[in-house]
């Protein structure tokens, strides 16, 4: 009996079962974390399984969810964007400081997106064409943006955000906030772009092996430039959603935005050049993170505990993934 015959005789049901197990084991850690949390939730508090509570969690997660989508775009091509905090600070300050109150409302809506796009373009040029380090160049851009905001505000908190803009977060369709619908829409669009457009294949090829991609004719620099530009555009949308979620502006949106975005991207199965989570992975990761923090709050765990849990989860997810895929 030859080996091929032995293989041929393997029952299809056993093969399917093996494939299913392999598929489940190949899922990004975010899915496991979310499944565990959902399983444990009823034991912790009845509130945690209330559908309305989930709508609130989704609403609170929307800005981070879109920022994660942006971060995952650049991480797919082995780059990084540390300018998220800068774009958020800039957009929130200009929307809440009254600078735009004499302009039509669409200017306030477009401002964060234009800022994000401009930052994305600058990052793209610096990283892809000038070949500057992505860590340093995007960090510098963020420092400049935050510095400009702090200088203009002289360290004082700005005013309140336009009340009409808050409809983006507070308005809803059957309980689902408009901001969540924007998040879902953007996620679907990016997913479709990856599935049907050539740029998706370019991203995957560059992330997998940049040198091989370039040798086979894929425009390496242009692909990385596009990823940064798109990431900037999406970060701008995330900043707009964040502005709509705030009643009062702030000049310190915090390093947490970037930290959480990076953590959720990794948990969602997208790391430097590794794209096993697709677009759904980071989405699930954001929900899992928000749910986890909500649960920790129920347990009375404060900021230090949350930081330790967050760090532990990132490390564990990365180690499990590293062991399975060879490199995270």
């Amino acid at each position: 009996m030859t080996t091929s015959e032995t293989k041929h005789e393997t029952p299809p049901r056993a093969l399917n079962a093996r494939r299913a197990v392999s598929w489940v084991l190949g899922l990004p850690p975010a899915y496991y974390v979310l499944a565990i949390l959902i399983a444990v939730a009823p034991l912790v508090s009845a509130t945690l399984i209330n559908p309305n509570y989930w709508f609130v969690i989704l609403k609170q997660s929307a800005p981070l969810g879109i920022a994660v989508l942006a971060q995952s775009l650049v991480m797919r091509v082995r780059s990084i964007d540390l300018s998220v905090s800068g774009v958020f600070a800039f957009a929130i300050y200009f929307a809440s400081s009254g600078f735009l109150k004499n302009y039509p409302p669409y200017v306030t809506v477009l401002m964060p997106i234009v800022v994000g796009l401009a930052v994305g373009l600058v990052n793209g040029v610096l990283v892809a064409y000038v070949r500057a380090s992505a860590v340093i160049s995007t960090l510098s851009v963020s420092a400049i943006l935050i510095g400009v905001v702090q200088y203009m505000s002289a360290g004082r908190a700005p005013g309140s955000t336009p009340s009409w803009l808050r409809v983006l977060t507070n308005g809803n369709i059957h309980g689902l906030s408009y901001s969540v619908i924007v998040w879902l829409g953007v996620t679907v669009l990016v997913s479709l772009a990856f599935r049907y457009l050539i740029v998706g294949r370019y991203f995957r090829a560059v992330g997998d092996n940049p040198r091989a991609a370039e040798t086979t004719g894929i425009p390496l620099a242009r692909t990385i430039f596009v990823s940064h530009t798109l990431a900037g555009f999406l970060t701008g949308i995330a900043a707009l959603v964040q502005v709509s979620a705030l009643a009062v502006g702030t000049i310190k949106p915090g390093f947490d935005t970037f930290m959480n975005a990076l953590a959720a991207t990794i948990l969602g199965g997208v790391t430097f050049g590794v794209d096993r989570g697709g677009v759904a992975g980071p989405f699930v990761a954001v929900v899992a993170f928000s749910f986890l923090f909500a649960m920790l709050t129920v347990f009375g765990i404060q900021e230090p505990g949350k930081l330790i849990v967050q760090g532990g989860i990132i490390a564990l997810a990365a180690i499990i993934y590293g062991a399975r895929t060879g490199r995270v």
Binding site: V77, R78, S79, I80, L126, V127, A128, V130, R131, A132, S133, A134, V135, I136, S137, L139, S140, V141, S142, A143, I144, I146, G147, V148, Q150, Y151, S153, A154, G155, P210, L220, A221, I224, F255, M259, L262, A263, I266, T271, F272, E303, P304, G305, K306, L307, I308, Q310, G311, G312, I314, A315, A318, I319, G322, A323, G326, R327, V328
Partner: protein, 313 residues
Amino acid sequence: MNIVTNFLKVPYRAGAIVLSIGTLLVILIAAVITLPGFLAPENLSNLLAQSTVLVISALGQTFVILTGGLDVSVGSIISVTTTIMTLDLPEVVRVFLCIAVAVAFGLANGYGVARLNVHPIIMTLATMGIGQGLALIILPIPGGRVPDWLSASVAGSVGPVPNSLFWLIAASLAAAWLLYRRPFGLYLFASGGNDFNARMNGVPVERTVIKAYVLSALFACAAGMFLAGRLASGDPKGGATFGIESVTAAALGGVHLAGGIGSILGTVVGAAILGIVNNVMNLANVSAFLQSVVKGLLLLALVVSQRRKTIGL
């Protein structure tokens, strides 16, 4: 003497150090000409004290960057060290505890990166969160009291020479000795330059990477002790900015983030540029809020001038 000579050498693998030194000289000359108070002993002493934490942490960061990695947990280790030094324990125990915690963080980072194949940014980001949480648990708000000898060793002076200069020189010489006088230094350049070739030539790459992270954590621990001595108290978020600033200082000194290229002198120069720019802007009454913009532009200008072969991180 050899250590000092090697410290001053500018080999090809030191990167764009000449550009960094040139930048430092231009800033120094401009400061001396335009700001009369710049060379005042009080200002120089203040400048040294302000820059020492950054120099020490950046020196440790250099070992990691030379391997092609990045250690963003440096800031958390500094914070944890300052909080441990305020614990109600015998002073020797506090010091040993600081070292033990730093070694544990370094080993976790190194093992995760070298053996478990986790990307350096991801691994050290995770330990950064854990370290920050730990610091906040030990000391929720700034305060406490550090041993008197620590405050005295930082704030005092020997004649006209401030003690901070001794900390700075000791850390620089220790780093130079490790990098230029030990096989470890050679292994570090080899591992960062091309880890495959290094492995083929018998370099223990994984062990070298783990050692680099442990050293980075130990230098961060020393920086934390200096900061605790300077503040005479603990601060759970006192080191937060140094994780990124230490990378910035190294990059300003011509250390390539891709690994394999850099120098101790370059890192010291990079940290000095950051420290002097801050000091000059303070003396010139430039808004503290504009300093972030100026530093960002300076960093961008220097990084743009160092075109690399690779695209990405």
